[in-house]
């Protein structure tokens, strides 16, 4: 009798969690299909190549143009820029916290850094606009301070907490035995960190970097405020740019539901979705490859 009851209980728990997991997958699927249903129209009306490779975005002119290339490049430049700043800086900070800093410093610093993640993005945008932008303009003698670089810098600061926090966890998870073995062989602390700890934490560091990039590419408000929003293809990092997310946010209010402009913005959503998907896919591939190397041969 008792065993049968507990069997039902076990089954109940199993279905309960199955249902919850299923719901989140269903939700993802719904978002995905909504995005495509609303956005596909633009691809058939304008043409996939015209949409993705077109350089003119004039959604409300007499003869509208829907060329998203400037925004796609804008998003990519800003995200890569942010990644190139945030990932090395974030991992360095994490190394300091996990390997060098005394415990007391580590705990306080990590809490503070994680607190940074809670600041609303509009505040970052505001700070970028009023503090960073003038400094960059003066330092580099630029005509306008609102550039891809400014946006990348602000995004880098915003994704730093993610990168630091997850990297630190990854470094912390490296078994103490590895460090001790290395030290006992006469390695210095630095050699141990670079040759043992960092490679052992590689997958976690990769995840940290990807989540940091994810934060950067999806960010809207702060970029809208500091990127300059010029609908041109940037020639270098100090040109103003407009990102996909900023365009969607800025223009959505002016569209007619179901109209071509409306569809075009959803189409941008599809493009963004595809970019993130490809990033994730690439990471995944690198992951499986390196981890099989890890199992198979050398570092």
């Amino acid at each position: 009798m008792e065993t049968r009851l507990s069997n039902y209980y076990e089954k109940g728990i199993k279905y309960f969690f199955g249902l919850i997991a299923g719901t989140s997958i269903l939700l993802l699927f719904l978002i995905f299909s909504l995005l495509f249903r609303e956005g596909l129209g633009v691809f058939s009306n304008v043409g996939v190549t015209n949409f993705i490779l077109g350089t003119r975005w004039l959604p409300v002119s007499e003869t509208p143009f829907f060329g998203a290339l400037p925004m796609i490049i804008g998003s990519i430049i800003v995200t890569l820029g942010a990644g190139m700043l945030a990932i090395p800086a974030g991992i360095s900070i994490a190394v300091y916290l996990a390997e060098v800093a005394p415990r007391s410093v580590r705990e306080v610093a990590k809490a503070v850094i994680e607190l940074l993640a809670g600041i609303p993005s509009v505040v970052y945008g505001f700070l970028g606009l009023t503090v960073l932008a003038p400094v960059i303009k003066d330092l580099l003698n630029l005509p306008s301070a609102l550039t891809a670089f400014t946006a990348a810098l602000v995004l880098a600061i915003m994704s730093l907490p993610t990168v630091v926090s997850i990297s630190e966890d990854a470094l912390d998870a490296v078994p103490r035995e590895y460090r001790e073995a290395s030290l006992a062989l006469g390695a210095t602390k630095w050699e141990t960190t670079v040759k043992i700890v960092l490679p052992s934490a590689r997958s976690g560091l990769m995840a940290a970097s990807m989540l940091g990039l994810g934060r950067a590419i999806g960010e809207t408000m702060a970029v809208l405020m500091v990127a300059g929003n010029a609908m041109i293809i940037p020639h270098f990092i100090f040109d103003p740019v407009r990102t996909i997310t900023a365009s969607i946010a800025a223009e959505m209010g002016e569209t007619v539901q179901g109209g071509l402009h409306y569809q075009a913005l959803f189409g941008l959503g599809v493009v963004l979705f595809t970019i993130t998907f490809v990033i994730n896919l690439i990471t995944d591939l690198i992951f499986t490859r390196t981890s099989s190397v890890k199992r198979g041969t050398s570092l």
Binding site: R103, P175, Y178, A181, L183, A184, L185, I196, L299
Partner: protein
């Protein structure tokens, strides 16, 4: 068996924060012998072992008073670099801890950080070390496979080979067989016998039969003090001190 003291501690005291973990330990380690440290859990034998290559330095809050001599020089002197010391005094830990890399790279790790880059030289060191650790025949065909694929016993011999590769004079072993099955343990003990001719070995063990089998000298630790030190045979047949006798006859611990 050498009569020379390869290492020696004099009135060694170790404090961890407010706690005194070692009390006035004066202990000789004779050259080219195996010295076993026995005693109940928490008696300070592992802590003592870790003072011999300054591995306690990496634990925040430890403080040391007294001397630890290696070839008559105090290794806690200000001018001694612990990094150089650890090259001379290697260590094998309780749980096998190969790095997550290939067998070859595990062995070559030490020589590489000490500046050996020549490929032929490294190949030779790797082969010699693995042979000395009685592992070469089992792994020679998969040197570039991950070390994590080896069995526990093989991993522990790999770790010993890794220590041998940096050419130490003293090898410290902290309960090296505690995670191994009986067959692997027997292989490990054979290995310790072989290594004795070229190295000085100090081994912590909670297994008294093992201490009796592998060691020439034994020290008995209790509550941070070294209670008795003597030739292993004497220790297990005619202990001088009551507490030692109680421990080795299994009355406590």
């Amino acid at each position: 068996m050498g009569d020379k003291n390869k290492m020696e501690t004099r009135n060694l005291n170790l404090y961890y924060k407010g706690f005194q973990a070692l009390i006035n330990v004066s202990f000789p380690v004779k050259e080219n012998t195996v010295t076993a440290l026995i005693g109940p859990s928490g008696c300070g034998k592992s802590t003592f072992l870790r003072t011999l290559n300054r591995m306690n330095d990496v634990i925040e809050g430890t403080r040391i008073k007294g001397e630890v001599l290696l070839d008559d020089e105090n290794i806690y002197d200000a001018e001694v670099d612990p990094v150089v010391l650890r090259k001379q005094v290697g260590m094998v830990f309780q749980r096998p801890n190969p790095f997550p890399m290939s067998i070859y790279d595990n062995i070559a790790y030490g020589p590489r950080i000490h500046g050996r880059k020549n490929k032929d030289e490294l190949n030779e060191i790797v082969e010699k070390s693995l042979q000395a650790a009685a592992l070469w025949d089992e792994v020679k065909d998969r040197l570039h496979k991950s070390a994590l694929g080896l069995s526990g016993g093989q991993q522990q011999r790999l770790v010993i080979a890794r220590v041998l590769a940096v050419d130490p004079q003293v090898i410290l072993m902290d309960e090296p067989a505690s995670a191994l099955d009986p067959i692997s343990t027997a292989k490990l003990e054979d290995l310790i016998h072989q290594l004795k001719s070229s190295y000085t070995i100090v081994i912590v063990t909670h297994n008294m039969q093992q201490a009796a089998r592998v060691s020439d000298f034994t020290g008995f630790f209790l509550n941070g003090e070294m209670i008795e030190y003597s030739v292993t045979n004497t220790m297990f047949t005619a202990p001088r001190i009551k507490q030692t006798e109680d421990y080795i006859t299994g009355r406590f611990g």
